[in-house]
Symmetry: C2
Subunit: 121 residues, 2 copies
């Protein structure tokens, strides 16, 4: 049987929209999603789950109410459940999100940046 | 408050042993582990969980009973639960494993390559 590697770089060629996570893989009930970030996302939190950000290209700042962290390529951060955060990217940033299937990108907040879940590429 | 990015590259400077996964982060009850692979690992499977391999540097071949997949940097693969597999690296390979906390590297098999779980760096 032929097995194919899953190339993160190749998957990024399949979409250009901003703050619209795309699922590329599932492990048990968790999903691996790719997203492009640019500008300000909204303040939000996820009451029921931690959320992992892993930067592929560019820089992402994650603001918290009491500080911030700036991530570059090959750097990651676990945002704890319930912690308010707001991603920001001055220039377009490519990142991977790892979290349970079905998590909404804007958490407890709904608005123009809320994306549909479980969109596979 | 000061938040620090988690640098995969920097974490790899903290160990040199082969086939001995080190935990660098936890998300809910899942762990992110770094490992160095070189040579043949053992045939094994994980009855209760899928397992994600993400290659950081070098190449890893994962053999299955009915084929294989070869992964390079920025490529990943989800080994389904219960599927027998045997990682192999001709030259040293740096990789990330993502799976539930407590998963033993050699799955259903115990031997010289079985590593302790939950070793953090």
């Amino acid at each position: 049987m032929k097995y194919e590697p899953l190339s993160i770089k190749q998957k990024f060629t399949k979409f250009t929209d901003i703050f619209q996570p795309k699922v590329i893989a599932k492990m048990n009930d968790y999903e691996f999603k790719l997203a492009r970030a640019k500008g300000d996302f909204v303040w939000h939190s996820h009451a029921d789950t931690d959320e992992v950000f892993l930067i592929i290209e560019g820089q992402l700042r994650i603001d918290f109410r009491d500080g911030s962290v700036t991530l570059g390529p090959g750097e990651m951060f676990v945002v704890p459940r319930g912690k308010e955060h707001k991603p920001f990217a001055a220039e377009e940033c490519k990142l991977m999100l790892i979290e349970p299937a079905g998590v909404v990108n804007s958490g407890d907040v709904r608005g123009g940046l809320t994306a549909p879940t479980d969109v596979w590429i």
